[in-house]
Amino acid sequence: MTEAAVDVLASAAAAGAPAMRPRWLRRLLANRSVVTGALILVAFVLAAVLAGTLSTHNPTRLEPASRLQPPSARHFLGTDEFGRDVWSLVLYGSRVSLLVGVTTMVLTSVGGIAVGLVAGFSRRLDTVVMRVMDGLMAFPAILLAIALMAVRGPGVWNVIFALSVVYMPRTAMLIRSTVLSIRELDYVQAARALGREDAGIAARHILPNCVGPLLVQGSFVFAYAILAEAILGFLGVGVPPYVPSWGNVIASGKNVIREAFWVSLFPGVALTLAGLSLNLLGDGLRDLLDPRLRVQ
């Protein structure tokens, strides 16, 4: 092959590259909310994964001699009342927040799918299951989480359990309503007439239709879970105080706000940015997946 022919082929490949991208990816990349939200989220994931490399100090090491130092070259975001480096605390705190957010999102999705499918397919169980879901949703979310933490005690996995119980009913209701709207469609009736079992219909015809709403709901549950984890930590009923988490650091900053505003300021900024990224992602996905719900 001549050099000219290689050049022609290379330029043709380059010109064809955008067209080769799947349509959904092009639509996704064209949505500013999704791209901005995803970029901020990726930054947080990198911060959490590389916390060991990016941190300048051990976040759990107490250094009373360096307590309440303002931001400087040695301590980028200052130190707290125990002399812990706030930059390192924020980086390690992102691990707890992302762990709680992702795990809660997965558990609520799995639980919501199971409960929603059962309620959507079984007319007998529907009433009972939905009354229980109504009952769970009758509690203000944070109050039910606080009550569950009261009986289970502090701990990361207890926080995840409490938040999954609190947010699962919303996902279950969503899946149920999707099942109910699809169950009576012709192609599902046709599958049933062909002798497919309920489980097969659910897996092959119903669940793929739930992916869109589930993605949107998942991004909001992720955001709520990160915020709720911080609130529980702030109230002293979340992860134990010695674990670096954004809520715990903000709580310790509350005690010294007169002398050292930076202790609570920076973890709060991180929390706001994390919430912003997930809300942008959720809004963007909702606009893409269901244009009827687009906020004008």
Binding site: R131, F139, L143, F234, F261, T272
Partner: protein, 314 residues
């Protein structure tokens, strides 16, 4: 309206039954024996046994549940382990600060949210619209409890304009109560005002595209008259839903705000009860707030008909 109201009241009975059952189960979810947890590691087997008997925990669980339903129906929420008084009395004493906080926050949320959304919709695409919607997006994402701390730092510590924490009853000193309530109400109401603004804008935009608005404009009515007289009321129906949801969310948010501002309401009561393992108080606060939540949602549904005469509940 009457039959609808009766149907709705009947429909909340099973929901409340589930709520009561969940609240009852909370104490039974404690790993191990709740009495051992309550009495601590130094309790003797005799003390544990006596307390179990005293609380009725030695009886079968279904009997305990039936007994719990019976007590709730009689308005008996039990006795606090630490406050030396019935739970219902403790709740009553702490209800005023929480209700004042919630109402003030609701006023702030509506006063900021509804006009912001309406103005943004009326000036769609302008700098006002973009600015207000950016603020509302941030408002949805900023954690309320962190905003409270920043308010305390700027307005109380740096500027010294308002008290940093505490509570004065509106019944004894209304002016003082207002000073103490400004920061908590704005902290709690700001997040919700952002949500209300986004929904108000969306609803207004929808209404502003209707034919009767075009007719009103064609008649020569001013932009202001079209926006506030013709469009506003019709855009209000979905906004009322959001305001109802907001009221319910404020119940949870008030817990956190009370802790930050040291307000002696239900939020502080439940947190201190949790830390002291005063389970009857935890149950009582959760039960009362959940019931309030359900009733508020019912109230919102009924309010629709008052705002929009096209909605009829037959």
């Amino acid at each position: 309206m009457g039959p609808y109201l009766l149907r709705r009241l009947a429909a909340i009975v099973p929901v409340l039954a589930v709520v009561v059952t969940i609240v009852f189960l909370l104490i039974h979810l404690i790993p191990g024996d709740p009495v051992s947890v309550m009495l601590g590691p130094d309790a003797t087997p005799g003390q544990i046994e006596a307390t179990r008997k005293g609380l009725g925990l030695d009886r079968p669980i279904y009997e305990q549940l039936v007994g719990f339903y019976g007590r709730i129906l009689r308005g008996d929420l039990g006795q606090s382990y630490f406050l030396d008084r019935p739970v219902s009395q403790a709740l009553w004493e702490r209800a005023e600060p929480t209700m004042v906080l919630m109402l003030s926050a609701l006023v702030v949320a509506i006063a900021i949210g509804v006009p912001s959304g309406t103005v943004a919709a009326a000036c769609r695409g302008s700098a006002w619209d973009r600015g207000l919607m950016l603020i509302s997006l941030l408002g949805v994402c900023i954690p309320g409890f962190w905003l409270s701390l920043n308010f305390i730092y700027f307005f109380a510590v740096r500027l010294g304009w308002l008290p940093a924490a505490g509570y004065v009853s509106v019944l004894t000193d209304p002016a003082g109560a207002l000073r103490y309530m400004v920061l908590p109400a704005f902290s709690l109401g700001f997040n919700q005002s952002a949500l209300i603004a986004r929904i108000s804008r969306s609803c207004m935009l929808e209404v502003l595209q209707q034919d009767y608005i075009r007719t009103a404009r064609a008649k020569g009515l001013s932009h202001r008259a079209v926006t506030w007289v013709h469009a506003f009321r019709n855009a209000l129906v979905p906004v009322v839903t959001v305001i109802g949801i907001t009221t319910a969310v404020l119940i949870g948010g008030a817990v956190v705000t009370e802790i930050v501002f040291n307000i002696p309401g239900l939020g502080r009561l439940i947190i201190s009860a949790i830390l002291r393992r005063d389970y009857p108080v935890v149950q009582g606060v959760v039960l009362v707030t959940a019931t309030a939540y359900v009733l508020i949602n019912l109230g919102v549904d009924l309010l629709y008909a008052m705002i929009d005469p096209r909605i009829r509940y037959d």
